[in-house]
Each structure stands twice: as C-alpha cells, then as structure tokens.
Symmetry: C2
Amino acid sequence: MFQPRSIAIIGASKKPGKIGHDILKNLIDYGYSGRIYPVNPNIDEIYGLKSYPSILSIPDEVDVAIIAIPAEKVLSVAEECGIKGVKILVVITSGFSEVGNVDAEANLVKIAKKYGMRILGPNIFGYVYTPSKLNATFGPREVLGGNIAFITQSGALGIALMGWTIMEEIGLSSIVSLGNMSDIDMIELSEYFAEDPNTKVIAMYLEGLKPGSGKDFVERMRRVVLKKTVIVIKAGRSERGALAVASHTGSLAGSDMLYDVAFKQAGVIRAYGIEELFDYSRAFATQPLPQGEETIIITNGGGAGVMATDAAEENGIKLLNPSDSLREAFRKTMPWFGSSKNPIDLTGQAVVENYVEALEIAYESPEVKNIILLYCRTSVLDPLELAKAIVDVKNRYRDVSKPILVSMIGGIDVKEASKYLNRNNIPTYPIPERAVKSLAKLIEYYRFLKKHKLESLTRVA
Amino acid sequence: MFQPRSIAIIGASKKPGKIGHDILKNLIDYGYSGRIYPVNPNIDEIYGLKSYPSILSIPDEVDVAIIAIPAEKVLSVAEECGIKGVKILVVITSGFSEVGNVDAEANLVKIAKKYGMRILGPNIFGYVYTPSKLNATFGPREVLGGNIAFITQSGALGIALMGWTIMEEIGLSSIVSLGNMSDIDMIELSEYFAEDPNTKVIAMYLEGLKPGSGKDFVERMRRVVLKKTVIVIKAGRSERGALAVASHTGSLAGSDMLYDVAFKQAGVIRAYGIEELFDYSRAFATQPLPQGEETIIITNGGGAGVMATDAAEENGIKLLNPSDSLREAFRKTMPWFGSSKNPIDLTGQAVVENYVEALEIAYESPEVKNIILLYCRTSVLDPLELAKAIVDVKNRYRDVSKPILVSMIGGIDVKEASKYLNRNNIPTYPIPERAVKSLAKLIEYYRFLKKHKLESLTRVA
C-alpha cells in the first residue's frame, strides 16, 4: 500500500474538480515514480497516460486500485480487481455504511476476502506516503515530508488539516483517511507505522473504534507505543458529541471514561484539540526523550517565566531547584537584578551571548534534564539572531539527550524566527503554555516507557 | 493622561536604541498632535523639535512628563515637574521597589502628592492611547486602533504582546504598562476605561494586587464590569508561579483561590493564557451580547462539528435542540445525508448558498440565540467567497443581537479568509475549540449581567 509498484485509478477523469481527476493529478504532480494506470472506458489518454477501458485490460500487475466511481458500480469493479490480482482496494466512494447502506459494504468486504485483497475505506479522501512521493488524495498537493504519520477518521476535517500542516510547516510521513474502516483500521495502520523507519510519531483523529475492539486496541497499541509515540484526539467525548459522532459516521463513540482508561493502559498520549495534537507531535518528532523529570526555564521576561511556571505546575512538570553552584554559574550571565532561581530570568537586557551561555550551562549540567527557553521581543535582541544561536548551541550538544522547547512572543519578525527554529528541529510555539504542555507530554511518555519497559524485562526474567 | 495637550520627555535622546529616543520617535511618528517638548541639557534639538535644558525652561504648560533618566536623578526631576505644574508623571525608569529600593519609591510618591501629581510607574515601558494617536512607549510603533484596552503588569511580556497584537490584527484603544503601581493601579485605570467611549473591553495581565486591596478590587471592579467586560490573566496561579512573581516584581501573588473568588464576585472573566485573553477580547470587542443560552453549530465537516460539540459541553454551552419546523428549514439546504440535528451538518458538498441559507435561518429563528459557524476547506467552496458571504449576511442582520463566532480550518487561503472576517468584525479562529470557548465567555458574561443587573434593580425598588 505504501510502496506500490503500480497504481490504477478507476474512474480517472479529465475534468478538474472531479475526484477521479484530482487524485490522478496529485499522483502525477507530487512525483510518484511507480506506474500509473488511469481506468475509464470513455477516454483514451489523460496527461499523456494511456487510459484503459477496465482494470482487466491493463497489461501489467496492479498493486493498488483506487476506486472513484459511483457506489452502485463499486462491487462489480471490486470483483474485477480481484480477478486481476490487485492487492489493495482504496475505495474513495461514499454511500456505504455511513448512510445506512450496510449490505453493500458487507458485500464489498466479502469480495475482497474472496480474492485476498485488503480495503482502505470506503468513504475516504485517500492517502499520502511522502517517502514514496505518493499523494493519492483529492486534498492539497504539497504535503511536506517529515516523520509524523497522521491517521484521520474524519474526511472534511482531515483534508482541511492537510492544508493546515502545509501552512504550519509540519512534516508528515503519511496521511491516511480511514473512512468506514470496513477492513484496515487504525490499529493495523499503527502497527505498520511502528515498524516504518520513516515514521517517529503517530498522530490520530479518532471518533470510535470498531465495536468490540477495545481490548484489542489496548493490547496491540501498547506494543506500538513501546516503539513509537502515539497521540490521539478522541472526538465525541461529551454525551452530545457522542451523538454527533453517531449521526456523522454511524459509529458508536462509546463512554469517554472507557477510552481514557484504554489510552492510559496503552500509553497513548491524549490531545484535546487539533492544536494540541500537532503541538505534541512536533515535540515528539524532533526531540530526544527526556532522561529525567527536572526542568529548567530560561527567560528574558519575568511575566513569561511566571506563565510558564504556572503551566508547568498545572501539567505535572517538576521544576528543578538548582544547586548553589549551578545558580552561581547562571548568575554570571545576567545583570544583578536577574534571577538564578528557576525560572532563570536573564532580564529584558539579555543579548544573544547571555542566552548562549545560559543554554550551555543548562546542557552541561547533569541537574538539568529538560529545557524550556522563552523569549519576549525586546529592542536589544533580534529574534532571528537568537534563533540562529540556539540552533548552533543545540547542534553542538546533539549527543546530549535533553529536550529543548522554545516559545517566542512578539510580532512578525518573531514569527519568522520561530519558523527558522521549527525548520531546524527545535519545536517553537507562540505562547509559553503550549511549549510547556508539549514538554509535559514528552515526560508523560518517558514515565510510561520507564515503567513498562522495566516491567516487560522483569517478566522475561 | 490619555488626551494631554502637551508632553515633555525628560531624558530625550538622539541615539536610536536609547529609551529616551525611542519613546520620542514613537510619539512623533505615530502622529500625536499635541505639543512635544524634549528635555535634555546636552542637546539643542531633536527631529526638528527644540530641546530644553530642564522642564522648568519650557514656555508652556505641560500635562504629562515622561521620565527616562537614571533612577538617582528621578526624585529631583520629579520635584521640578511639581513646581512646573505637571499633572501626570510617567516614570519609565526602573531601579525602584522592584529591586528593593523601596525608600526611593516612597519618596517619589511623597513628592507627587505634595504637588498633586499622579504617577504611572515607575519601571514601565510607557502607554498608548490610539484615539489620541499617542504612543509613548519604546515598544513597536504601529499599534492598531480598536476598542480593547490592554493593561499589563509585566513589561517584557507586554512589549512582546504589543508586537503580537499588530501581527494578529487585534485593534486596541489603549496599552498601559503598570510597573510597580506606586500610584495609579489597574482598578483606577479600569474605572477610567469603563467611562471611555473608545473602549469596549478591558484585557489585563495581572500578577498581584496592591496588598490589602482585595475588597476594593471586588467592589469597584464589579461596577466596572456592569459597564464594560473585563478579562484577566492572573499569573502566579501555582505555588511556584507565585514565588516567581515575588522574585520578579517583589509583589505577593496571593492565594489563587482567593483571586478566583474575587473574580467571580466581580464578574471578571478569567483567561488562563495569552491566547485565551485575546481570543475572548476579540469576541467581546465585536459581538453583541447573547440574548439567551441556546446555541447552534453550523458546519460542513462532521468531525469539526463533533469537536465543537465536545468543547461546547465541556464549557457549559447549551446546544439547541431545534424544533421540527426549524429542522425542516435547515434540511432544505443540505443533501439528504446531511444532519439537521444540532450540529447542522451541511456536508462537504456545501457551497456558499447552503451556508447563506443556513445562516439566514439561524438569524431568523427565535429559537437560536448564538451561532457557531465552522468551515473545513473543501475543493467545492472557496474560503474567501464564503467569508464575504458571511459578512454580507451578518450586515443584513446587524440589528439582531445574536453573536456569531467562526472557525475556519485549512491552509493559507483559509488564513486569508479568516483575516477578512476578523477585519469585518466577525471573530474567527483557526480551530473550533477556540471559537466555542470564546462564546462560552460571552454567555458567562450574559449570565452575570442578567443576575446582577436584576439584583441592582431589585435593590433600587
């Protein structure tokens, strides 16, 4: 599915705006290097590719068949795909169980089983795998490469978020639209990404599991979590939200408390909104795992330091009480009215050198396990200059397994500097709270791994 | 202070980067139309303005004196200001009580009292009042006009947020840096803004009240709140955060529970982060007050609708159960597989006309008191086209007191459309949760007013 040698698009079209056109165009333009076979009996060629009247007339093996034709024709085409020896059916078409058409979907699954095919969908917008330069969606084209795999159970929201990740420069290894999950589900996909060297983080928008798969979810996802971080938004948390899920996808959202327990047991990180999902993903995608709890906050603004401190306490982060010698070291890089208690307040007079020295001290000190760096725009310190210096220090300490998360507060030049940091793998947020919450999740994961990796070792012994 | 006829800048300088330069330059370039008097014995003129050796040599009355000279010279200059008949001392200079120099500050207050002057500061970055085109800060220049007054007890954070409001296109009537609050405090400023026709919302970053002023805060702020919305971030909520406040400003943060009670009694809306502060401010600055609780969510993406529903329930918003006739009306503007339960799901096939019709129905229906409109980027509906249509409908129903808050999810074109909506006074957020939380605060304020305005009426009777 993710590295196919050939893809057929059944329902390929010449007409922009048609799903069968847009997917084909994305496939071609995004740079997929395998063989592409448009299938449409009414067309001879599209974009220089020969079009075939049916999948059976393609003189080659077909690994993946993308189906974008009306629902009533899907079953017979699936049958043909089976005869042809297709391995994966990607059924874009909607109008199945999500609108009550349960029988048609069951028959689709039956046909697939008969021929040993697997199904993604139906009722999806497609999928992306950036390492294969494969964009088989009718969403935005220029998905950025990276190591976050995004799995979504919602279509419109998923497509909208594709555009959002491009704007926010969030790099993805994959995007998968789950739709009705008639066959392939989020658990199996997660197991795939757990072994995928191109994926470090699995981010998921979830509305509900397949009925009865709760226990399966916990057991199998826990094994995934021991290899890769999994972050999930579970929508339909509230009673009314669960009803909305039912009317949206026909699936049962289930009790949120049960989900919460399941996530905790499996070690899945929970996000409560879209912003959190990608904030956390960005942190996990770029930062090493913490080697301990003790965290230091370095700032040039007292107020920003206080807000970060509040957020740290509220999110269960243990702030370091620096030893006298460590305080003495920090004190050398700040004016006399600065603070060497944690938060380390370099004051509004801080220039690049002060930040660099404070950062070096933090990286060198074995007391410090995690770093939050805050910057308020001041006239004495250019944000881009600071950003470059931070990247430089970070690179010098690349062998030190100490997460660093940054928040830069200010206007347009601060935003540019933040982008520079993000591009250089230092997760940077526009407000301190978001940096702190993201670090809290890194630490939560650290605790889970510490507990469960030890447990499994014990069991083996 | 906010509409002075003349301002002296004591410590005016020709050197960019110096505070005495930057404030003067901001004053001139931002367009202040009163008279400006630079004071510096070593200079003859700056930017075409005659410079005076001392405030006493200015041949005119001086309403406001901005003091940007070393701390040790402030007292004698304050004395001169008193003799001159200055009304307001704006003391930028730091090095007073915030670093333990309590006596100097007490003496400053004594001098001011003797001459009937009021003091803003010391230890501040200045203040802005956009209706007077007055920017007396060393922060960013191009503050956007609007009806939010922003009062901040933190300097570096305050300056950084000035830049942030410019980037985010948040319009302000005023920015006031409080510093050590030796005299003028947030309560008195709030009382001023309560009567200010240019201010609709008072947004505040607070670290602590003056000792013993808690009761005063509740009583006087409640009167303010009955006229204008007050939104506060109280930093130093956590134990450790309170310690950080102490080491930052020397003031006591006090028990957060007490603050929480005080805010509730006064009807002050509480924000827990910078993003929330301005999200809420934007909603209050542009929207009419709710006339009831019942809220409807209109969406083209089921997932976005579910997330908004969760957020609504979690934030105490009562979602409307539409009557059969209302459901029937909505049903006419969606395909058969849409949903006319609340959330109203127009489906991913929705075009501008569907949204316009649904909005008109919502504005017309007396069942609906508040509107949340969600849009996920789809290929069939251009976001800017939708934004323009929303503004158009909104303007047609400008006499209907029904708040509308929007969330648009997607990439760069969605961001542009969101800006268009914000510029046209429709608060628009990049994720549904932020729109919903902001509406929850509008409703919270509605409840407070309903209760307390009735109470005060009863009392009068």
